[in-house]
Amino acid sequence: MSGALKIEIGRRYRFSASHRLHSPHLSEEENCRVFGKCNNPYGHGHNYVVEVSLSGDADPATGMIANLADLDAFVGRQVLDDFDHKSLNDDVPAFRDKVPTTENLCIEIYQRLKSFPKAKLERIRVQETGNNSFEYAGENLEGDRR
């Protein structure tokens, strides 16, 4: 029975960061038109929520897909230490030449977490505000990449 079932664990993390949406490939006017108030030259910030989903077989000895202490330490090291209370544009090298939209943030976080050794990363969901969220599951969006 359980072979026919897939179990995932989802864990939420929070960080606060500032960003500014601005593309060097667009004129000032175009930037203003495309990004609106997100183009404010001094930037603005969000309380981001990151949802990390992992799959795998629960270890019969522990009942766990992955020990949350290992996951928390990994996410802290790979993501939160670099992003929390930082400027995404100025402090995260990946966004020096990429607009730090939450779409791109999802992809960046996925890349940073996909090497988690204890379970398979299924997808990353980032909530920018209570009304906006974005998901990335690698290149197959079905999330079915067995």
Partner: protein
């Protein structure tokens, strides 16, 4: 196909301890979840059923019927119970969120005869949950 989701909440206690491990290993692996007197959570369970709406009633299944199944299979078994000692289906297993979600799937799946069980999501807290679904069904973008 339409998905419908019903949410219920129950409160239960548990602890993580594997008798095959030494006391020290149990503490190292399970941390504060190993407290011998246990601890508890307000669990939130979201049960999603898939199916086509009946042309006459417009329903995939009657929510009343789903509510009764959840009351019988989950609430009566787990609400205000100790998951380690009072739930036969969890005997011999560590009652992690993963294992409890799987047991709930196994309890509900045969009982849902109109539509088909699509996903069980069990929140142990706002920041930790487990999803259980049929292998290959995929969970991305699902409610």
């Amino acid at each position: 196909m339409v998905l419908l989701t019903r949410k219920i909440e129950f409160a239960a206690s548990h602890l993580y301890n594997n008798p095959k491990f030494s006391a020290e290993e149990n503490r190292r692996i399970f941390g504060k979840c190993n407290n011998p007197h246990g601890h508890g959570h307000n669990y939130t369970l979201e049960v999603t059923v898939e199916g086509e709406p009946d042309p006459v009633t417009g329903m995939v299944l009657d929510l009343k019927e789903l509510k009764e199944i959840l009351e019988r299979e989950v609430m009566q078994r787990m609400d205000h119970r100790h998951l380690n000692y009072e739930v036969a289906e969890l005997a011999g297993q560590i009652p992690t969120c993963e294992n409890v979600a799987r047991v709930i799937w196994q309890l509900l799946e045969p009982k849902i005869t109109r539509g088909r069980l699509h996903r069980v999501r069990l929140y142990e807290s706002a920041d930790l949950f487990a999803d259980c679904y049929r292998n290959g069904a995929g969970a991305a973008g699902k409610p």
